[in-house]
Amino acid sequence: MSLLAVDGLSAGYGRGNVLHGVALEVGAGGVSVVLGANGAGKTTLLRAICGMVAREGHVAFDGRRVDRLATAEIARLGVAHVPEGRGTFTNLTTEENLRLGAYRRDRSELEASFARVYRYFPRLAERRRQQAGTLSGGEQQMLAIARAVMSRPSLILLDEPSFGLAPLVVEELYRIMKDINAGERVGILLVEQNAAIALDLADRVYLFEVGRVVLSGPPSKLRSDESLRRAYLGY
Amino acid sequence: MASRDHDRPAEAAAPGVRVAAVCLVVLACVAPLFCSSYHLFQLTLVVVYSIALLGLNLLTGYGGQISLGHGAFYGIGAYTTGILMQHAGMPYWLTIPCAGAVCLVLGFLFGLPAVRLEGLHLALATFALGVVFPQILKTRGIERITGGVQGITLAKIEPPFGLAISPDQWLYCVALATALVLFVAARNLTRSHTGRVIVAIRDRPVAASSVGVDTARYKSLTFGLSAMYTGIAGALGALVVQFVGPDSFGVFLSISLLVGVVVGGLASISGAVYGALFIQFIPNVADDVSKAAPSAIYGVVLVLSVYLMPRGVAGLVRRLTGALVARLNARASGHHAAPVSPATPVTQTKEGS
């Protein structure tokens, strides 16, 4: 049974639909990557899974239907969404942001969670008392991911983590995400424009165009198709 | 509840509405012949309030700016009339345009800094204006002019040229004539270029300014016009009631005006009439219940109308007449199509739209 199963998902912001009958899967502990250009609907996909936009279709998390649940309920089930723009609580400190990540969990786990998260992101430990809005872009992205990890989720949804970050920072970020994927045994649904680095992490790839999945399969499928490879990987 | 669901000024009133409006005007004109003196007094006040509501609606409905202090402009108009008649011996009919002019200027001046304020800030500033106005009237320093706490009593207005009508009837005619002129002017304004600009500023302020509209000037202008209308209403009101006093123009009046606009229908000319009927007659009815009742009813109506009647009575009327007209149309086209070709299905397009 897959961790996340999406079938026939349609969603939109009023007049028209942005997603049209999307189907995808994330295996337990696996990494599924959704690639696509700007405006393809990738962010809407993640928002629809979390109940942040009006949607219809079938979304099952850990075998349980969640497509009728409110966002906060879905979060409490163990889905951690790292949104587009990071969604940092800018007026609160780094540590408070992390503490909020652990909101759904027991107080007793808090110290252990902090320890784990600071091990993955030592830079955040240095900045724990700093106001989150003053962190650099890369640090805020780390904070956003760290916040997700604090809740000990079963599934992390990541919306373009590399956005606006320098290549070295992106590399470091992905290294850490690989650690997290292995160490926390958490499934990841990753939405990216930067295909190259995302593919290294993935075990399933979905190509998104204008709200529809146009290709799905293992990363090798994308790499072996010359025109796709050229379009998405640049070589 | 739809958000950002503003009314567009009605481009062309449905024929049903136009007929209704004409009927209403005719009724209004013949009313003085049938009504008792007291009822005529009340009707005159309805006419007066409808002018005031028209003013507030220009600002709030069309301009999208809230005012919780329009009672002050009403009061300024009323006191202008009172002071000019009492201390300058001015004939009553001249005080009306004077009141309008004073309020136009003051409203514009208040609007100048106020344009920087939006939503809640503007609401607070105008609320403060409404609360403070009675206080200013009572200040010791200007007591000689304003009459302080006792206010100013005005003499009854006699009909001119020895016309064989009662003073009440004459006053009603004056008010009605003024109202008709002002209503037509308001309708023309809302359909004019200026009117469209004002609505554009309401709905898309950034877009408006980026095409070069001087939004500040238009907003102040809207304030001034709105104040002018309400001030003229205040002047007429003073003549009807024959008295101006500081406590008549406080928060309760400002809130009543807002209630009238909301209940009647935002961004609707006809709404002013419905609203005026409401705020004139409800206190009469409710007062019999208890002292607290008029306010309580106002509060409940305000809240309920947002949920149930977001377009006010005018919106309701428009919906009903629209449905009625649609049904008549459908029936007419139905009669036509049947004998022509019974084989082809009659497509009933408008039914129930």
Binding site: A75, A80, R99 | G64, R116, A128, L258, K291
Partner: protein, 290 residues
């Protein structure tokens, strides 16, 4: 000199009340982005309930605590029943709902308790403490109670997870949902807290201005001025603003314009601040994406 000090300290006492109400306004503004025009009338109803209890023989501090609880419940109820259905309405309509609520609460108070003015008891002794000439005991008590309340609130927001959740909702409601916070419940909680704070303010000011349905109108104008002065989204600013307005009101009223024009001065202050510094002294100027 003595008179001046007396005015300053008296201003601190009324300032404490304005600070509390301004804080309540800011609390609700931060989570809902609307100004609670009905704040004063909510406090009025709470004060009346307290008065009814004391009149019925309930000891003061017991009535005080019971009123706090009841006010909290009333705040939650109002949020659920009146405010929540209007969340998707256009801004103007929401403002109208708040105003309608203000009017309803005021008239309910008048209807249930009548329009005669009543005296409201003060829990503090008649004689000035330590025989001082500057402050009556009630005024010292007001300042003391207010600071105690502010301290409790500060601790709540700073050190409890519920307080943190409320701050999160004020900061970023969407992200709050993403971490599992039920934002609707937090809104109700915020309203409940604001209502309780307002109740304290009402019970502190009633002995001074006497209890009748129009008690809160002038007080609220000062509270609005204080909240705006401090920045409508800044709790610290609201408190500072409240004390400032209190002292200014007294000094201006005594030495400059006299009591008649005190309220007018508040108007001038409000309009002035709104024009020159809409964000207030401590608030953050906000930029909107075009």
């Amino acid at each position: 000199m003595e008179a001046l000090l007396h005015q300053v300290f008296a201003g601190l006492a009324s300032g404490a009340v304005y600070a509390s109400l301004a804080l309540a306004l800011v609390m609700i503004y931060r989570v809902t982005h609307f100004v609670n025009f009905a704040q004063g009338e909510l406090a009025l109803c709470s004060t009346y309930v307290a008065w009814a209890m004391v009149n019925a023989g309930v000891p003061y501090w017991l009535a005080f605590v019971a009123t706090l609880g009841m006010s909290f419940a009333m705040g939650v109820l109002v949020e659920r029943v009146v405010i929540r259905p209007a969340t998707r309405a256009p801004a103007l309509s929401v403002v109208i709902v708040y105003i309608g609520l203000m009017v309803i609460l005021n008239s309910v108070a008048g209807w249930v308790f009548g329009y005669t003015t009543h005296a409201f008891p003060s829990p503090f002794p008649e004689e000035p403490l330590f025989g001082n000439h500057y402050l009556g005991s009630h005024e010292i008590g007001t300042i003391g109670v207010t600071f105690a309340m502010l301290g409790v609130l500060y601790a709540f927001f700073r050190f409890t997870s519920l307080g943190l959740a409320l701050r999160a909702v004020a900061d970023n409601p969407e992200s709050s949902r993403l971490v599992g916070i039920r934002v609707e419940r937090m809104l109700a909680l915020g309203w409940g807290l604001a209502a309780a704070v307002g109740a304290v303010a009402g019970m502190m000011i009633a002995p001074i201005v006497f209890l009748d349905p129009s008690m809160m109108a002038g007080v609220m104008l000062y509270a609005f001025a204080a909240a705006l002065l401090g920045g409508i989204d800044s709790p610290g600013g609201a408190v500072a603003g409240g004390f400032t307005v209190g002292i200014l009101e007294n000094l201006v009223g005594t030495y400059v314009v006299g009591t008649e024009l005190k309220l007018t001065t508040a108007l001038a202050l409000i309009v002035g601040v709104l024009i020159f510094r809409p964000a207030g002294l401590f608030g953050q100027p906000s930029a909107a994406r075009v």
